[in-house]
Symmetry: C2
Subunit: 339 residues, 2 copies
């Protein structure tokens, strides 16, 4: 595309080089009518007045990891935040902060992955920004995506947690910790017999299937940074309900277990990028599991616990060896820059 | 607030320290019902289905400069992008990438400035994200804001430039280059008799006054990165019209002129953060000027040129000494990281 193989400060100037980068990379791959207007703001015509709005910065290290890269992650993450709120993701913005000297070829791979994920999930990347900072002033590339989704009136109370009642069943759509361990393995060059892939995926399709099935969904949240434990601690504290988990129902891949033992990590706190917790009415639990299992992203779904009247505001877990332990909010940071 | 005076990696973990930071800083200053829900996505009820959506990353160096700081800038910038599209800015998201060790006191000043600007401009900061990266992996703090504004059907063609016709008058709401020079002066510790302040300001009020006055607005754009020249080159190229500027009508402060001579800068290319170009029908030009001058942010508004039939796609300027020169798109980067 441009005559240089690397990003120059001028690519962030707003001038000619910026324009070339926008036309020859972003507009080329994200192709849609709205973005190609190249106005300061994208003009959108919504079909509902109730919307969900979210933002996330992505600083993952390394940029490329088994199962994805920072571009795919930045699109999936925003889609998932909107989806667990009960919204249908529609429009995404993408803001890039790039270190001078960054390879345009790598940037192209990242942008391509974003475009592919957007097409697959039915969202449009409609507006963006690029800033370039001097060498050594940022770590290669950071991406911030924001998203807008349309939300039906009847789903608006899902993200608040106010629907949750004693007896509700807690479900997750597969094994935990894959993303965290995939990142760690890429960083530390760990070798596995079977490599652990990040679970990075857009959950809007599988979530839509559940909502449209008429299942009585009480709450949903994607278990990203801070892992399953953090989501459940937040729900329990916010809604002042007790949560009882069953350790043996929570899938952890053998390779993930192995690395956790080696590094002293607890998989409950490891990041996922394609897993969500869904709390449903007890009578709908089996139906939910069967709908989830019908989807590639939910094949290993299990009921992992329930809402209880005991120990309000506390998450407890029945352990494999028959005891019970409290699951706390993580205090520090186990693995920085996993997303 | 927290027991530490500096940002730790744990503040970006999604766990307990993240929660403390959110409650004790962001929710405290940005206070509004929507943000305090602390859900993954903000749920918004719009009054129109037509919206404008924009995003910008802010990497300005230094973080604090005469007339503003990165926080104020990040809110004004997004408000202005929405306003020049003809939209009424409503909701903003704020994503922070912070270097480990960054002072919480400085973060608080930045967040306070964002909150003040939001209140002043009638927008709500409704959702956000915080990531912390290891020391040396980013330069103190980067902020990405995205914004949603509601746009009336009748203003939807303003940002496209399709309304522009020969004879339309080009207006700017004051002197150019102040922001660029304020940043440069802060960086180089230049001393002025009268310091140059950044013009960083939210333009939603002054723009609304113009739109509601019934003036026939053909186009608007804020003249930020790349300066006045870049905006006009873009318009001219996109709409395939000629632009004729009159150098003597373009205000440049004496101090700004002085620094430009010293460093070999052209004020036409210097960034502004409170200036916008407005193109109006010839018969409405004087009315526009008088409305603009009624506002503190438009006191020095002038007609700086017009749309001509000659030299299509080219911006020419009648110079002070009587000649004419072509104004080109900037090729490289004069002053990196001014926003």
């Amino acid at each position: 595309m441009t005559k240089t193989k690397n990003i120059l400060l001028g690519h962030g100037s707003g001038g000619k080089l910026s324009h070339d980068l926008i036309s020859e990379l972003f507009v080329k791959y994200f192709q849609n009518e709205i973005l190609s207007q190249q106005t300061d703001s994208a003009l959108l015509s919504l079909s509902l007045k109730d919307i969900a709005f979210t933002t996330d910065a992505y600083v993952v290290d390394p940029l490329f990891f088994p199962g994805g890269n920072i571009g795919k992650l930045s699109v999936c993450g925003t889609i998932n935040d909107l989806s667990v709120s009960g919204a249908v993701p529609k429009y995404i913005s993408a803001s890039f902060i790039i270190e001078e000297g960054f390879s345009i070829e790598e940037l192209e791979s990242i942008v391509k992955a974003m475009a592919e994920e957007a097409v697959k999930s039915g969202v449009l990347i409609v507006t963006g920004d690029t800033k370039v900072v001097n060498k050594g002033k940022c770590d290669k590339i950071f991406i911030t995506t924001s998203g807008i989704g349309e939300i039906d009136e009847k789903y608006k109370s899902i993200s608040s947690g106010t629907r949750i009642k004693t007896g509700d069943q807690i479900i997750i759509n597969g094994s935990i910790g894959d993303h965290g361990i995939a990142i760690l393995a890429a960083r530390e060059s760990l070798n596995f017999e079977t490599p652990v892939l990040s679970d990075c995926a857009s959950l809007n399709g599988i979530i839509r299937n559940i909502l449209e099935s008429g299942v009585n969904v009480k709450f949903m949240r994607d278990a990203t940074r801070g892992g399953l434990a953090t989501v459940l601690c937040e729900v329990s504290e916010k809604t002042n309900t007790g949560i009882e988990l069953i350790e043996t129902s929570i899938h952890v891949k053998e390779a993930v277990k192995g690395v956790c033992e080696l590094f002293g990590f607890d998989p409950l706190y490891l990041a996922n990028e394609g897993k969500f917790v869904i709390i449903v009415a007890a009578e709908d639990a089996e139906k939910t599991i069967s709908i989830l299992k019908n989807d590639f992203l939910g094949k290993e779904s299990t009921i992992i616990g329930e809402i209880v009247t005991n120990h309000k505001g506390i998450v407890a877990m029945k352990t494999e060896i028959g005891g019970s332990r409290i699951v706390d909010m993580p205090a520090g940071e186990m693995l920085p820059r996993i997303c």
